[in-house]
Amino acid sequence: MSAELDLAGRVVELTRQLAGPGAEAEVVAVHSAEALTRFANSAIHQNVAEATTSVQLRLHIDGRTAGGSTTVTSAEGLSSLVERTLAAARLAPRDPGWAGLTAPTPLPAGAGFDEATAAAGPQERAARVRDFVDAAGGLETAGFCRTTYVSGGFANSAGQAVAGRSAEAAMDGIARFEGADGVARLAGGRLDAIDGGPLGAGAAAKARAGARPVELPPGHYEVVLEPTAVSDLIDNLATWGFNGKAFAQHQSFAELGAHQFDEKITLTDEPLGATLPFDLEGTPRDTLVLVRDGVTQAVSHDRTSAAEAGGVSTGHASAASRSWGPMATNLSLTPGPVTNAVPEEATGPIAAPARALVSRMRRGLLITDLWYTRVLDQKSLVLTGLTRNGVWLVEDGEVTAAVSNMRFTQSYPQALAPGAVLAVGADALPLPDRWSGVRYTAPALHLAAWNLTGNASG
């Protein structure tokens, strides 16, 4: 039994002792160790690590519910957690939305995790930063190298008891040249698969090719979005559209069974091996097909949204899911068919997964990254945001000019609507979470139109 499962079990038992057998309790204990080596101006300037164990308790008693959490895991701290959560539940207004506890359910076969990544130290991260900086050939660089390890245990008063572990390594960096930035990112389960050298060289190639940009007028442009930009599309689709609470409350565009996307689009959530194999309600996680061949298949649920929508939990409960809704956080857009006509290009601004798509674009824009995207209308999922880290004009399959960053205002489902996806790249890139807690595996996309509504002049 893992230390975290033991800890969770002790809190369930403590709750039974203090609240009586009628109380329903679920407990998650998580030990996380995150270390992040951050660099800017080609030097490590922030280098941090933390190791934390936290316990979250949710308690339902006499029709009332309360949650509590603590990082104080001494006997005194755990007693305090149970006592104050119990007191809160007894004073809280009634909770008609309580969806009960997860029954004992086995986990799917574990994917394992890399012990070396979990134990990686600051020297190993610094070595990768050194390689990134060196490969950029003297350009100014910035970014991070990160390793994380998580061990978790879940127990509830209905008898569910599960545990799991995961590890992740990621690198994300830019190179800068004459006001232009280029980016390269990579994530995975093993630090030894992260090589700072190729990432630094790729970012530098983009930066050099981005210098002296031209300004283009706003309008609808055909585009190739590199995987780094595609990750923003699928993140926002999952956060606002395939969110079970938004769906249950009719705030989402999603219609189950409807042909809402181009048939080239298949989007799944792939949590196994990437995170703990269960959610905060103890529901086992597994692959969830959100879109298959353009048809919306499912939305992500916790027990509450599932009960409201008449479905079952898909294992997406989180600390915030009752308020913000359950969201898929390990998104994978299925690559397109492999072609034989992929140009072999060692340098230049086009990331390898996008090269074949760019070679077939008659006139349009190659967009590396999207930035600061925010929802203007949730139902139609219209967002505004900006391009970042490199935009180029492509004519007859060749990059002909760097373009300054532009603002867009675009409905994401409309951009992927039937007929709107001209091609999906054959290679998908594993990309790290940068802020939202979402990780991605994404290919490049060739889209018929992207609505650019402003340029550097306004």
Partner: protein, 480 residues
């Protein structure tokens, strides 16, 4: 509180020094949180949290290291100090320029924010009844979805540095809000009171009493429903009047982040971004019109970004950022200020014991102007009034922005006219601020409890005094 944690913080600092650090500081932080959300007259979520731990920062040569642990005993603190020094030593593998720290007078001090009614002492039943009543009122008035929320943070921290600081602080923050949504054919309209996600401050529950959530909930529902059939905000260039709440976010995004010294120095280049500001122009660059006077004031009583000392031990001090439209100041820390050749710090904060302190906004706000909102409207022949933020987006240099508001009104011949739906406006920061030609005196210190920055991510609490203002030749009505 009878127990202090100076000893543990001091042990961590000493261990870092013993391991080779030439400077170290440590914070022990205890935080209690509580939040509740309600929907359509029912409580949806009720959570409380307790977090305790120690974070230590070590400077070895010219390289930093930071380590954090949840254990508050002497041995764990010493181990954390040693670990921070080890991490700093690893940083030297990719070294940067020499790091100095501007002087921060060593002090032994204690500070607490003002609080009339301890928000954690208010019975949960009372707080729940408030959200239930407010959301029920909105629902009864026609909202398809009514949501309410309150949040409370109670933070105690003990700071020790190798320069001789010993400071403890107790900061209590809370706030609340209610939102009504109306669902139309393919779109959703939303109205929030008193602001997007609520109003927050370093105050007690008396703030929430003043917000009068239930009294305003029905009007929010009625306005949300009315917006469904209101005409769209026209597209084009016009005179724009912004309400104070929206102007607060405009300040946050297009001034507050732009004057963060770490961004200006390139330290956030890969993620949060840089700044369009160039230090060579500090003291001479025209940021806005003569009406634009922006101050940095962490000592402002009750505002959300207030404290007695920042997380490097620098005392709260008021400072000009923009005076008569000219850029004159930045948000700085001890190391960034030294690197920039400045002699002041005071804006370094961490969102918890497990996170590295970094340059953050405190209270960054606009000094009051000579007008009132009514006078501004009366002086406007043709324009649009927009208020209450709905969406925000700005580029990585803090220049090119686009905001959406919940509600707009036509202004014709000095009068407020028809309601407008989906109002948006876009522009370039300095051009926009230079067009500000009227500014109200009706200032409110709006609180923003969700400012994201840093890797690993940190969520900052910032304050923004702001009042309604008028801007000319602004592009409005951008849509997809």
């Amino acid at each position: 509180m009878s127990v202090d944690h100076f000893d543990e913080a001091g042990a961590a600092v000493q261990a870092a020094l013993d391991a080779g650090a030439r400077y170290a500081d440590a914070r022990v932080m205890l935080r209690r949180t509580e939040s509740m959300s309600a929907r359509d007259g029912d409580v949806e979520d009720l959570s409380s949290g307790e977090s305790a731990g120690l974070g230590v920062r070590a400077l070895v040569g010219s390289s930093w290291g930071f380590y954090a642990v949840p254990d508050l005993d002497d041995a764990a603190a010493r181990a954390a100090g040693r670990r921070a020094a080890e991490i700093a030593a690893a940083s030297a593998r990719v070294p940067g320029p020499a790091i100095d720290l501007v002087r921060s007078e060593p002090v032994t001090a204690s500070w607490a924010s003002d609080c009339e009614i301890d928000p954690l002492s208010v019975p949960l039943s009372e707080k729940g009844d408030l959200l239930v009543a407010a959301t029920a009122a909105a629902r009864d008035a026609g909202a398809d979805l009514a949501e309410g929320i309150y949040q409370i943070w109670d933070t105690r921290k003990w700071f020790v540095s190798s320069d001789g600081h010993r400071i403890d602080q107790h900061i209590r923050e809370c706030g609340a809000g209610v939102t009504a949504s109306a669902f139309g054919d393919g779109e959703i309209q939303r109205r929030s009171w008193p602001s997007h996600r609520g109003q927050y401050a370093t105050r007690g529950w008396e703030l929430v009493h003043e917000l009068a959530l239930t009294d305003n909930a029905a009007r929010m529902a009625e306005e949300a429903r009315a917006l469904l059939t209101a005409p769209l905000c026209p597209a084009g260039e016009t005179t724009l009047i912004l309400g104070g709440e929206q102007l607060a976010l405009q300040i946050h995004e297009s001034v507050g982040h732009a004057i963060e010294l770490d961004r200006i120095l390139g330290w956030e280049a890969a993620f949060a971004g840089t700044s369009w500001l160039d230090l060579a122009q500090l003291g001479s660059l025209r940021y806005g019109s003569d009406l634009m006077n922006i101050t940095i004031d962490p000592g402002l009583p009750g505002a959300l970004g207030s404290f007695g000392y920042d997380d490097e031990g620098s005392p709260a001090a008021k400072r000009d950022a923009v005076r008569n439209g000219i850029w004159v100041g930045v948000l700085a820390g001890r190391d960034s200020a030294a690197m920039a050749g400045l002699d002041y710090a005071g804006s370094v904060r961490s969102d918890g014991w497990a996170r590295l302190p970094m340059v953050r906004m405190t209270n960054v706000g606009l000094e009051p102007g000579p007008h009132t909102l009514d006078e501004i409207i009366a002086a406007t022949d043709d324009g649009i009034l927009m208020d209450i933020n709905r969406s925000w987006s700005i580029d990585d240099r803090r220049l090119n922005f686009q905001f959406g508001c919940e509600i707009g009104w036509e202004i014709k011949n000095g009068r407020r006219g028809r309601m407008l739906r989906n109002p948006t406006y876009t522009g370039i920061g300095p051009k926009f601020w230079q067009s500000m030609d009227m500014l109200s005196s009706e200032t409110v210190a709006w609180g923003t409890p969700n400012c994201g920055k840093g890797q690993p991510g940190q969520v900052g609490h910032t304050g923004h005094p702001a009042a309604p203002a008028r801007f000319t030749n602004v592009r409005v009505g951008v849509r997809g």
